[in-house]
Amino acid sequence: MSLIPEGKEKLLKPGAMNARRSLVEAELVSSVGWMIELRWIAGAGVLLATWVVENLFRLDAAEWPLYAIGLTILAYNLVFYLQKRLLNHRAAPISAYYRLAKWQVALDWLAITLLIYFSGGIESPVIFFFFFHIIIASILFPPRTAFGFTLLAIVLLTGTALLEYFGILPHSPIGGFLESPLYQNGLYVSAMLLFFSSTALITAYLVTSIQERLRAREEDVVNLSESLQRATVRLQALNEGARTVGSTLELAQVFNRLVRTTAEAMGVQACTIRLLDQSGQRLEPVAVYGLSQTYLNKGPVEVESNALARQVLSGKIVNVPDVINSPLIQYPEEAKQEGIRSMLSAPLANMEGPLGILRAYAVEPNRFTPDDEAFLAAIAAQGSIAIENALAYQAVAALEQSKSQFVRMVTHELRSPVSVIRSLLRTLTGGFAGGLTPQQKDILERAAHRAEFLQGLIDDLLDMAAGKAEVRGRETPEPVALRTSLEKIVRRFEVSAREKDIQLEWIDRSDDDPVAVLGTKDGIDRIFNNLVSNAMKYTPPEGKVTVRLARVNGEAQVTIEDTGIGVPEDAMQHLFEEFYRAPNAKEMEREGTGLGLTIVKDLITRMGGHISVKSTQNVGSQFTVTLPIHQDESKQDAGEAQDQPQNAMA
């Protein structure tokens, strides 16, 4: 997954120059097209104007040459149009467009000169049209070319005027336009040429200088947008880094993402993270992006013999502008072979001291700017936090694991003797060791009863300890059909319901769907066995317990409703706490560990579900369990899973 969207990457990677050139290029390409479009109108305009002059104004012009010029303009414009399409199609280099533009201007110059000649030469009102052309050329070309064309215009007009003045070229006026011809009026001709030349040059100067300034602005804009883009990419990288640091506690994953993100965001060849080993003397690469194995195998990076490492580990950001001449570099030859010319290194550290080095590598010398230094420092700070977090997490996980193991071991050690005590008591109360007086039997039964309670407590503790350990995924969840599980549980309580005179109702609204959820069969059984058992326990005779299964909003919903003693309002918030028992529950049932609901909630949470309670004291309680439905390709499997023999070891 790349951080940088395709387009941005392209813009950034080849460097700033390309982006700038491509903008000017794009402008030239579009100008060539624009000129061709305008020329269709110009050509047609010449034809129309000639016709208008002849037929509406009834003036006498050299109409056939003028028509010919108009048609010629259209004809060569067609050639240009086709040529441009060809260039576009071939994605021709910019020089081809440049040549095309020059040809266009040159031919236009000729055409307008002829137009001027055939409409009266120095007397022609068409002369003013030359200024449009000068403006266009000045916009399109660099100043030198623009002035060249302007001078050409002056030469062409002056040549025409002089040739006519000296009678070398016949005068071709628009008959009826002027009372008396001016083309041989020396004062008029020289004044006209002087003003035309100066106006043309001033126009060229003004337009080119405006254009220069516009170009400079444009460059600024490109620069600015580039630096914005870079900033965006870096912000994204930082943001991504922060999210990585927050979301992943696997160190290797954090490191790999950091180096890749950093290299991509800075647009450089490579990036590495090296951490100090146990001895604190050697730096080992833990994450590498963009470097060859050969380079990594170049040799050990010992703090002792690596001046750069020492400087960075002391907390400095070190920029090596050129590895070839730097005294800091331990392996300059290897770096050169790898194609690395500059390096930027930032320290990774925590409160206790240096941890390692984050380093970026570039193929160009002098690649890293102060901006880059600040950026790498920010990434390194995040990396340091990531290391800190991951190490803390590892420590907590290990602690939790050993705690669970300890609890499990202890409870197991507790369970064995209690179980033996119960066995022995049973042989006595069962009369297998001789007869007992009623009182003796009563005492032994009381002892057995207490031992039984103790065992229940130990079992619950064992469950909790096991539950916490299972968070690491010891038991693999599988699709379990809720309907089958619930039917079993309800059947299990049917006898005690009859004995206690409680109406036990099972309402299945699953519509022939087994309602598979992802969990362990034991887990599901414990959850609902516990909830139904509670409902039965705390519901007085002649009451009612209802178990209901339904799909609600795409989730499995099981409600266990009773008409029992209910939960007092102030007990509600403690209901799922370990060892908590509501006072009215204690009153009704003296024994109980207060762990049942804690375990139930723990199991449900681990299955991605939740449990809620509604209750009114002396009216009843309603426990609602919501579990995510397992989306399986074959619902059949989920239904059958319940009937398969249990695996020997789950």
């Binding site: 499990r408 197991h412 369970r415 064995s416 179980s419 033996v420 119960r422 066995s423 022995l424 049973r426 042989t427 069962g430 297998f432 060791a433 079992d459 064992l462 469950d463 096991a466 350990a469 299972e470 010891r474 038991e475 034991d522 887990g523 414990r526 023999p645 249990q646 695996n647 020997a648 070891m649 789950a650």
Partner: protein
């Protein structure tokens, strides 16, 4: 029913006692072994009609090894004449702990699994059923 020999393999003497009393009062002849090795020797010597086997002894799964040895399908097994001797396995391992076991022909060839403590009446009923 009488004179049927039952071997109890369990490292806990109290547990053995609690099993022995009901079995003897039901008329069985009871032999005891305190670990796997003793158990296997006793099997060879006493040729019991039924074995009650604890899972956790020297190791957490020592009982399983005994059951696998006794019921091995391997025709060269040292204990091939005991392949049909029914085994009742006792476990103190609570059902929802990660180490959970249930009879499985492929994995563990035992007839019955009982979680401790075992109700003597249930145990006796099962034994009578197994011994026909």
């Amino acid at each position: 029913m009488t004179n049927k020999k039952i071997l109890i393999i369990d490292d806990d003497p109290d547990q053995r006692l609690s099993l022995r009393l009901p079995l003897e009062s039901a008329g069985f002849s009871v032999h005891e072994a305190a670990n796997s090795a003793q158990g296997l020797v006793a099997v060879k010597q006493g040729i019991p009609d039924l074995i009650i086997l604890d899972v956790m002894m020297d190791t957490a799964t020592a009982g399983f090894q005994v059951a696998l040895d006794l019921h091995s399908a391997d025709p060269t097994s040292n204990y091939k004449e005991f392949r049909k001797t029914p085994i009742i396995m006792l476990t103190a391992i609570h059902s929802t702990t990660p180490l959970r076991f249930a009879p499985d022909d492929d994995y563990l060839p035992v007839e019955v699994f009982f979680e401790k403590p075992v109700d003597p009446d249930v145990l006796l009923a099962k034994i009578r059923e197994l011994l026909g």
